[in-house]
Symmetry: C2
Subunit: 91 residues, 2 copies
């Protein structure tokens, strides 16, 4: 048994399986019609406290809630193939 | 059994429990040291295709990956208490 993890990938599956059923209930109980589920790993990735946690963020309109800017990395088809094979081998 | 859902809260728990153990394996296999897990519900919330799906987004540096702008809603302590009680009753 572990009692603390900073990153999601450090958590055993037996803990991870509990998370989304709870997030679902929060979204339903809060009657969120649109919302984001966000989990950040590392300071660069906007993690403010070093404990695994999940955000369920209502998005009632354009102005409030989560704003997203998502820049794709510069890459080539060859790069993607190499990365893809590497990940598939390890999965 | 359902075979399609647009929003996360429409998915039965038996499907939801599979998601994060898979996301964890993707993050580990990709050797992401920092990353975001993101799931969007609704067009306003940046959902581009109307099927539940999860993103595992590497964040190797400031410039690439997910950029987040998160504006808190204007609220009062009273508003929060009302909302809190409402959610707790329904949970």
């Amino acid at each position: 048994m572990i009692d603390h993890a900073e990153f999601m990938h450090q958590l055993p599956d037996e803990y991870l399986i509990d998370v989304l059923p709870i997030a679902k209930r929060i979204a339903s109980a809060g009657e969120f019609s649109q919302y984001n589920v966000l989990q950040n790993n590392g300071k660069l990735a906007n993690q403010a406290v070093p404990h695994v946690h999940f955000h369920v963020i209502p998005k009632p309109n354009q102005e409030t809630g989560l704003g997203i800017r998502w820049r794709a990395m510069e890459t080539t088809k060859e790069d993607i193939e190499v990365k893809y094979k590497h990940i598939m081998q390890k999965l």
